[in-house]
């Protein structure tokens, strides 16, 4: 009875991603015993684990979009980092009214946010158009904005870093009033919940999976593959826009060159670590979210262990390989065989 329950748990899709996350976190306890200590300092939560959850927020938001795009089109959107920069640039440029640094808003915040989200939706729509309508391979289609995006962002900010030194602007990346929890965490949670609800309350999830698995069959059962793929890219764009606004609020500026830099690779990694197949089809949103936290936990861990930033990738690579190996079917089969052999041996021994 108990055994079958255990088996059910261990064979669940999310089991391995969760185990990996826990393993990475446990690694910390050995090296940095106070890793899980959380205290209130200066009126806010303070501790490594808080940093992990806080810092992972943008990655979580991106990973959600990346999951949908991957599932529907079997390819990845490598322009999300650049789209973040565009959204940040639009937002800050409107708020600053074109000045390099301002201490008051020059335009209403709502206008800036809407414009930023529109811009990122537009970027997503561009990618979506190329992929779904013109049938260009996702990585190549998004390569265009990947290279152009930061150029566009710089064009918008005139090549300068635009500072918005207004306290309320810092809220999205900092804290709201006396709330001790960093705001980005809320952003991440809310986005996850909204997307999750959309997938749950509509048939979009099923549509996306069908289109990703067999586009021809999906068309014949009446699904509009083009539209669905397009839609996932737009969603991915908007989510990147939200992540961009959070990131720019953290540094209360639009740094076209650095906002979201190299984040696309981490987002793709998060999707894979969450147990999702990068060739499209079935997906698990929560898996990707767990993957995103795993990556950030790893980064924070390595910082806490004083690993140099330039050597960090080596360790990251090793951990990634270990995780994906553990998750690979071949390895699972190997373990299963081993177990079977052992049980046979045990049986033999009993006789």
């Amino acid at each position: 009875m108990n055994k079958s329950k255990l088996k059910k748990i261990t064979s669940a899709r999310l089991f391995l991603p969760i185990v990996c996350l826990i393993a990475v976190l446990l690694l910390n306890v050995i090296r940095t015993p106070d890793f899980f200590n959380v205290s209130i300092r200066n009126g806010v939560l303070y501790g490594y684990i808080v940093d992990v959850i806080n810092r992972a927020s943008e990655l979580v938001i991106l990973a959600i979009g990346m999951t949908l795009v991957t599932a529907a089109s079997g390819g990845q959107d490598i322009s999300v980092g650049a789209i973040m920069a565009v959204a940040a640039a639009v937002c800050c440029q409107i708020l600053s009214g074109g000045q390099v640094s301002v201490n008051d808003y020059q335009n209403p915040v709502i206008l800036a946010v809407i414009a930023a989200l529109l811009a990122s939706a537009l970027c997503g729509a561009f990618n979506g158009f190329l992929v779904s309508k013109l049938n260009i391979q996702p990585m190549v289609a998004t390569l265009i904005l990947y290279t152009a995006g930061r150029g566009i962002a710089q064009l918008i900010t005139n090549g300068q870093i635009t500072y918005i030194r207004v306290d309320s602007f810092k809220m999205a990346g900092g804290y709201i009033g006396k709330c001790p929890i960093p705001t980005p965490i809320f952003f991440a949670i809310i986005t996850v919940v909204i997307v999750y609800l959309i997938l749950k309350k509509t048939a979009l999830g099923l549509y996306i999976e069908s289109v990703g698995i067999n586009g021809k069959a999906a068309r014949l059962v009446g699904l509009n593959s083009t539209m669905i793929k397009f839609l996932t890219y737009v969603i991915c764009g908007v989510l990147a826009g939200i992540a961009g606004i959070v990131a720019s609020s953290r540094i209360y500026s639009a740094d076209a060159n650095n906002i979201g830099l190299n984040l696309e690779m981490d987002a793709i990694l998060a999707v894979a670590l969450g147990g999702n197949f990068l060739g499209g089809g079935k997906f698990s949103l929560i898996g990707s979210v767990i993957g995103a936290y795993t990556i950030q936990a790893l980064t924070t861990t390595l910082y806490a262990m004083n690993v140099k930033a330039d050597q960090l990738p080596v360790y990251k690579a090793i951990v990634v390989v270990i995780i994906v190996t553990l998750q690979s079917d071949v390895f699972k089969k190997y373990i299963a065989n081993l177990k079977a052999k052992r049980s046979v041996a045990a049986e033999g021994g009993q006789k």
Binding site: L134, N135, A141, G151, D310
Partner: protein
């Protein structure tokens, strides 16, 4: 019936390659006309496309191979950086002779190929993730070897780097001096690699297996092909070419440093794709990839020659041209499909 067999039909992919080549020619000739007064029409300008991209070309050929199997390798940029760094470190700091250093460099490429190939082929892990890890690993290792820039001063190595094959043709400078066009040995090596790979893919069993696997892995398996071993070999070959490409790259830059060849993987991938390789596998040729490299090189060259764009406009125009190119390719291809 007989006539039907004999009639040489241009298959879909061959047609795409023709379009690509035609577009390249149109673009280059347009450049020659518009920028005639800026030396764009000089033969050396054309040869420079090869001079600058010899390393990239070899690496992109390697990528073409793994992409035909339906895989991908995004570690090539890091491998290139690592190879350059190892070459520089061995020759300058460890006093190793140039031949031995080059051998080590090539072995590094092969080692990457073996490990990545093993993970992809035998453990069945997604190539993107494996090579993403490879990308992290290579870059990190480069930083561990040295965070300083190392300039290569080894005489033999510089002799290779500076060697020139002069052509019987050339151009006349403003001052009326005749300057013969040239190519360095790197270009020769790269072109030989392209030809060898083209022959390998078309006329060797190994090459055809790659296409079969890319077309349908399941079917290839069922038809009795050794899928795992073939994929493994593809990655090893790709790793070797990444190592060789890194060496050619190093002959061009003669230096090792951490940030080198960043983003090279994207250049290589997009070159291969522009040249008609499908990321989904089963389709692609090194000749196509050669033109992909030339097209990207020409776009950059046009922008440099124009010379008044600000930094951000450079990026935007570069990608706009790339976009234009990809879209034209796709539209023409789908028009052809419809016409059938």
């Amino acid at each position: 019936m007989k006539a039907n067999v004999q009639k040489k039909k241009i298959t879909g992919n061959g047609f795409l390659l023709l379009i690509t080549i035609a577009l390249f020619v149109v673009m280059y000739v347009a450049g020659m006309i518009v920028f005639a007064d800026k030396g764009f029409a000089k033969p050396q300008m054309f040869l420079n496309l090869f001079v600058s991209n010899a390393g990239l070309l070899v690496i992109a050929c390697g990528l073409t191979i793994v992409m035909i199997t339906g895989g991908i390798d995004i570690s090539v940029g890091s491998v290139t950086a690592l190879v350059c760094m190892v070459l520089a470190d061995l020759m300058e700091n460890k006093g190793v002779n140039a031949y031995a250093a080059v051998l080590v460099a090539l072995l590094i490429g092969v080692a990457f190929g073996i490990v990545q190939g093993f993970l992809v082929a035998y453990l069945d892990i997604q190539p993107f993730i494996v090579t993403l890890a490879g990308m992290f690993f290579g870059r990190g290792l480069t930083a561990i070897i040295s965070t300083d820039m190392i300039s290569i001063k080894n005489e033999l190595f510089l002799k290779w780097a500076n060697y020139r094959f002069y052509m019987p043709f050339g151009s006349t400078s403003k001052k009326g001096k005749f300057i013969p066009a040239y190519i360095p040995p790197t270009v020769l090596i790269a072109l030989i690699v392209v030809i060898l790979i083209a022959v390998l893919l078309k006329y060797r069993k190994f090459g055809r297996k790659l296409y079969a696997i890319g077309g349908s892995r399941q079917s290839a398996l069922m038809m009795g092909l050794n899928v795992k071993k073939t994929i493994f070999n593809a990655y090893v070959l790709d790793g070797f070419l990444a190592g060789l490409g890194g060496f050619l790259f190093c002959l061009n830059s003669c230096a090792g440093f951490v940030e080198q060849a960043k983003g090279l993987e994207m250049d290589a991938i997009s070159s291969a794709v522009i040249g008609g390789t499908l990321l989904s596998g089963g389709v692609g040729t090194p000749i196509g990839t050669l033109f992909g490299v030339l097209i990207k090189g020409t776009i950059s060259s046009l922008i440099t020659t124009q010379g008044t764009l600000s930094s951000w406009w450079t990026r935007i125009i570069l990608s706009a041209l790339l976009c234009f190119f990809i879209v034209i390719q796709s539209v023409v291809a789908s028009m052809k499909k419809k016409a059938k």
